[in-house]
């Protein structure tokens, strides 16, 4: 079966900088895939290339089997791209804005008002349709941007940081909208820094760092590998470097990293071993004052696969 989106060997260079290096992944219909990576990892470049706003130096992208390079106009009809910030037109109401883009995508006179009403209703902006664009809040702007993206009923949605700047309630509402869209059979590729948001909605993730895909796959499969490990958080009264030195000598400790004033430890072992670890710390004259553990989640997965380096 042809994937809805297939990125094949995508490479994009800006002078000496390789923004995306031989990236390959795919997204199926009705699936939500998270696209995660540190700032400057190449997420936006990849998304812009998929949306036909940029041209790769190498590789190709296929939407329902059609190349975006060979048939950009045709593939644009199947893609909805939502950038991280909504551009606003001065002296324009929400309805006029949507009507303009509805005309641009070629909706006829009969279909246009109906479709604009549908997307306004879906994004819960119906009552605000006469409001000027420049008076909208961030949450409303994001909704409007999504409404515009949905006008031509695209099969694939590319959402670049859609939850950035939203308050907690707006984020929850936005998440519900994305779920509703996936249930309609749309494929969704979504980038976000808020990994807890993604972990609740994503079927799969693509992790990118320094332009290269470092991991790609279904969330449960990826987390399965590291979920056999426990993620411990330990804080002691003693300085962190002493704790780090002590942890390095204890068996079962796989990885450590500093977080706040304590250490996060990726640990292999059962509850007995964890108790032994605590005992070993006390024996080394370290006094734990905070300790808890949990299974690895998407955030841990991301941190485990990336080093946080910028290009």
């Amino acid at each position: 079966m042809t994937a809805l989106l297939e990125v094949r060997g995508l490479t994009r260079k800006f002078g000496q900088l390789t923004a995306v290096n031989n990236a390959s992944f795919s997204v199926g219909a009705g699936e939500i895939w998270g696209f995660i990576g540190p700032n400057g990892a190449g997420k936006t470049t990849t998304m812009r290339t998929i949306a036909t706003l940029d041209i790769p130096d190498q590789g190709d992208i296929f939407i329902e089997g059609r190349s975006v390079l060979v048939e950009p106009q045709r593939t644009r009809q199947r893609i909805g791209f939502m950038p991280d910030a909504l551009g606003t037109y001065a002296d324009t109401t929400i309805y006029e804005y949507l009507d303009f883009f509805a005309r641009a995508v070629g909706l006829s006179q009969e279909l246009r008002p109906q479709r604009v009403r549908e997307v306004l209703s879906f994004t819960d902006l119906g009552k605000l349709c006469d409001r000027m664009m420049d008076s909208l809040s961030k949450g409303m702007s994001q909704r409007l941007c999504l409404a515009k993206t949905l006008l031509h009923d695209p099969a694939l949605l590319i959402l670049d940081e859609p939850a950035a700047g939203l308050d907690p309630r707006a984020r929850v509402e936005f998440r519900e909208l994305i779920r509703a869209l996936a249930s309609q059979g749309k494929g969704i590729l979504i980038s976000s820094h808020i990994l807890s948001e993604l972990s609740e909605v994503c079927d799969g993730v693509v992790v990118i760092e320094k332009g290269s895909i470092v991991r790609e796959g279904r969330v449960h499969e990826l987390t399965k590998n590291i979920s056999e490990h426990e993620m411990l958080f330990i804080r002691t009264l003693e300085p962190v470097h002493e704790l780090e030195r002590a942890l390095a000598e204890i068996p079962g400790v796989l990885k450590t990293r500093q977080e706040k004033s304590g250490m996060v430890v990726e640990f292999q072992g059962e509850e007995d071993a964890i108790a032994d670890l605590l005992q070993a710390l006390v024996q080394r004259n370290l006094r734990p004052i905070e300790f808890h553990w949990h299974k690895a989640d998407l955030e841990e997965l991301f941190l485990s696969f990336t080093e946080g380096n910028l290009q």
């Binding site: 190349s67 037109y89 005309r103």
Partner: protein, 491 residues
């Protein structure tokens, strides 16, 4: 009726609707409109009171000049500034990307903005017509001359609006946008002043235009045709700057350049049929050669993918202009353009249009010199840009170089020759080479300029021939792979 309205609705450019709506609601347009009207009223009262009191025989001329002056300022400054701001706002307000993937082609986006500018220009004209027509009620105003001047002002205003859009398209950053806006404003103010001066002299009958009857009509028609086609070329260039440098975007520029060259040929024939002067013939020949220079503009990107993209566009019948295939990579365009460069000007020598034919030797050396210069200055960048190792940035530079190469090379030559006895005598001075060859001066030979440009022209021509051969092979391969892809899709 409803079917007609539906068809009309489909045809209406959405950008046009948006721009008109925004402009009419915007503070800039409304302020400019009311200020212009206020100025027209004040001028009317002032000129009327003075003119009528003095009982001058030329009061109609003065009245028209004042009103027309205000109309020029609105046409050459306000309208182009509106168009410029409309385009640059797309980048500043982050709406550019949304527009680019909205399904509207770059050409349609530019066209929408130009149409909106011309409608706003129409509104100004409509508002000024009562004032302007009042001038005819007084003495001394020639109706035909005034209407022609008014026509040129109106058409010029719309054209400068397109330049405003082009300036905004060329500026990719905020800093370059500010620079472009500044330069553009200075340009429009300068043009306004010049046109006010020229049109005033014409209205006051100072003998600047001595055409009458059929001659006048032909002159106006050819000028308008050339202006229109020059704007069409600019339009093609503007649309090409908006999108990625696709093969078809460059093809549009080349296509428009061809039309411009042909229009210049028509202009030459018309002009020479009224004024059979060898010097005029030479000026036209060089002009046509300069226009054909624009047909050589290379693509910024010559990647296979873009070639495929252009061919796919063609296969989707997005380009239905006759002979369009000729303008794509491997479409024999090199041969076609070389023949065009060579053929069109020489047609004028071979088939004289007036009853008193010229001697073929008059200006022939000048034409050869112009041909050498143009082939060297266009063929060489074209050849360099076709190299696989050429980066898009270098190609962009070469593309722009073609537009400015003639004055640029000549200026460099003068600067290099500043320390010598004859600053114009340096061999790189292309403009001096052409003018001196027409004047049958020996600069062309003694300085070595003839040989220098001749060698470059020859190298560029041979290089482009081999490039064309390679491009033809690539084209066949791409066409075959496109057919295979189509079959795969059907399977």
């Amino acid at each position: 009726m409803s079917r007609f309205l539906q068809a009309l609705d489909r045809k209406i450019n959405p950008v046009f609707v948006k721009e008109i709506r925004q402009s009419l609601r915007g503070r800039f347009f409304r302020t400019a409109f009311f200020m212009a009207l206020a100025a027209a009223w004040i001028t009317t009262l002032f000129v009327l009171s003075n003119g009528l009191r003095n009982g001058e025989q030329t009061s109609g001329q003065w009245f028209f000049l004042w009103q027309h002056g205000i109309y020029i300022l609105t046409s050459f400054i306000v309208i182009p500034q509106l168009a410029n701001r409309g385009m640059s706002a797309e980048r500043e307000e982050n709406t550019f990307d949304a527009l680019m993937i909205s399904g509207l082609s770059p050409a349609r986006i530019v066209m929408g903005k130009v149409l909106a500018a011309s409608v706003l220009q129409g509104l100004f004209l409509f508002a000024f017509l009562p004032f302007l027509s009042l001038g005819f009620a007084f003495f001394g105003l020639d109706l035909a001359t005034s209407l022609i001047i008014l026509l040129f002002t109106t058409v010029g205003g719309t054209g400068f609006a397109l330049f405003g859009i082009l300036a905004a398209c060329l500026a990719k950053t905020r800093a370059s946008n500010n620079l472009m806006q500044g330069m553009f404003t200075i340009g429009t103010v300068g043009l306004s002043m010049s046109w006010i001066g020229f049109s005033s002299a014409v209205i006051m009958d100072l003998g600047l235009v001595s055409l009458f009857g059929g001659e006048l009509f032909a002159g106006v028609a050819v000028t308008l045709l050339l202006w229109y086609l020059f704007l069409y070329w600019t339009f093609a260039f503007t649309a090409a700057t908006l999108t990625h440098p696709e093969e078809n975007a460059s093809a549009r520029i080349r296509f428009a350049s061809l039309l411009l060259s042909l229009a210049a040929l028509l202009g030459a024939i018309t002009h020479l049929s009224f004024v059979p002067d060898p010097e005029i013939l030479n000026i036209w020949v060089v002009s046509i050669l300069l226009f054909t220079m624009l047909t050589h503009i290379p693509s910024i990107t010559e990647e296979d993918t873009l070639g495929r993209r252009a061919l796919a566009d063609l296969s989707m019948k997005k380009w239905r202009r006759p002979g369009m295939s000729l303008f794509l990579k491997g479409g024999n365009r090199g041969v076609a353009f070389f023949l065009l460069s060579l053929g069109i000007p020489f047609l004028l020598y071979l088939f004289p249009v007036s009853s008193s034919p010229f001697s073929p030797s008059v200006g022939f050396e000048g034409v050869i010199a112009a041909l050498f210069v143009i082939l060297a200055l266009t063929g060489t960048p074209s050849l360099l840009s076709s190299r696989a190792s050429a980066s898009p940035r270098r190609r962009m530079f070469l593309r722009l170089f073609i537009l400015v190469s003639l004055p640029f090379i000549s200026l460099i030559s003068i600067l290099l020759g500043m320390g010598t006895k004859d600053p114009f005598g340096f061999p790189l001075n292309a403009i001096h080479l052409i003018t001196s060859a027409f004047g049958e001066e020996d600069y062309a030979y003694t300085s070595g300029a003839f040989g220098l440009f001749g060698i470059f022209a020859l190298v560029a021509f041979i290089g482009n021939l081999s490039r064309m051969k390679k491009a033809r092979q690539e084209r066949k391969f791409i066409l075959r792979s496109l057919t295979l892809t189509k079959q795969d899709g059907e399977d």
